[in-house]
């Protein structure tokens, strides 16, 4: 399994996710700078967390129009699995690869803590290692993670099984208290129509080694690598 990690000016989780991918797959990902118009063929493209282009204008807006994103978009539209974590999720929505938008947290505060997420479906490339309905602990760290979409879009995402993760209590119940940012319907991550593109606000790569205090992230990357093998 060969992955590419896209690096924007202001990305800051690019190396963390590269380490997690290498640990899971045994192969070092290629790191692709935002100015590159093309890069080698890979099995997975990852847009990492951070603050690409300083979050100018709107989070993800400038990055979504960078030279490398034209190629990322073209490949994603051809079906190449594309994963956006945190800022990467914001870039995917701005690029039109995922519906909705990530807005300022309802509390207006930057939220940095571990949260529990319920796996809404084990039926995808990204979640086949998990059982539908189980919860995992992943960290979040963001100021703009408040998922918004109009009601029709939310209904469609739900109806088509395209909600990947929701913020939940450890027992899986969905409460307002478990929602760190005010996201509509506790949404933490969504798929595109074919489930080849996933965007999520939590950072599985930050709990992908027991030395970091947890391995729920390891399960995510191992499962993904296994599914892509």
């Amino acid at each position: 399994m060969k992955a590419a990690v896209i690096v924007f000016p202001g990305s800051n989780c690019d190396r963390d996710v590269a380490v997690a991918l290498e640990q899971a797959s045994g192969r070092k990902p290629v790191m692709v700078w935002h100015r590159e118009g093309d890069f080698e063929q890979v099995d997975l493209v990852v847009l990492p967390g951070g603050f690409a282009y300083g979050d100018y204008l709107r989070v993800g807006a400038m990055a979504a129009h960078s030279p490398v994103m034209r190629e990322v978009k073209r490949r994603a539209e051809r079906g190449v699995p594309t994963l956006g974590i945190c800022n990467g999720f914001q870039v995917l929505t701005e690029a039109g690869l995922l519906p909705g938008a990530l807005m300022r947290n309802a509390s207006l505060q930057f939220v940095c803590k571990d949260v529990h997420c319920r796996i809404e479906t084990g039926q995808s490339l990204y979640t086949s290692a998990f059982a539908s309905g189980e919860t995992v602990r992943w960290p979040v760290g963001h100021h703009d993670g408040n998922y918004f979409a109009d009601r029709n879009t939310l209904d469609r995402l739900e109806g088509e099984g395209r909600i990947a993760f929701r913020y939940a209590e450890p027992d899986g119940s969905l409460t307002e208290g478990a929602n760190p940012n005010g996201s509509a319907r506790n949404i933490a991550g969504i798929f595109n129509e074919t489930k080849s593109v996933l965007g999520l606000m939590p950072h599985p790569e930050r709990l992908a080694d027991s030395a970091l205090g947890g391995t729920d992230g390891t399960r995510f990357f191992k499962g993904l690598v296994e599914a892509l093998r």
């Binding site: 204008l57 709107r58 807006a61 129009h65 929505t93 701005e94 519906p99 909705g100 938008a101 807005m103 300022r104 947290n105 309802a106 509390s107 207006l108 408040n146 918004f148 979409a149 109009d150 005010g182």
Partner: protein
């Protein structure tokens, strides 16, 4: 010619920053404020001198970058 683009959140989209500003105004004693919505203003200096062409160009800019149609509306003001 110069132009100004006003970008505002669509009605129905929660604006936590506007809410916080509203609370602050209340606590400063401005009691009559019913609601606050925060937006942004983008000033453009264009080579184009034809207002219709300028407007069309700015519409395209708003559609592609300056505003996010999922959450934002915009108005264009030509100087």
């Amino acid at each position: 010619m110069k132009a100004r683009v006003h970008v505002t959140l669509k009605s129905g989209v929660l604006d936590p920053q506007g809410k916080a500003i509203g609370h602050a105004l209340h606590s400063l004693g401005f009691a009559g404020v019913r609601d606050v919505r925060q937006g942004k203003v983008i000033e453009l200096d264009l080579e184009e001198s034809d207002p219709n062409k300028a407007r069309a160009a700015i519409e395209a800019m708003c559609g592609k970058l300056l505003a996010n149609p999922v959450i934002e509306n915009y108005t264009i003001e030509l100087a």
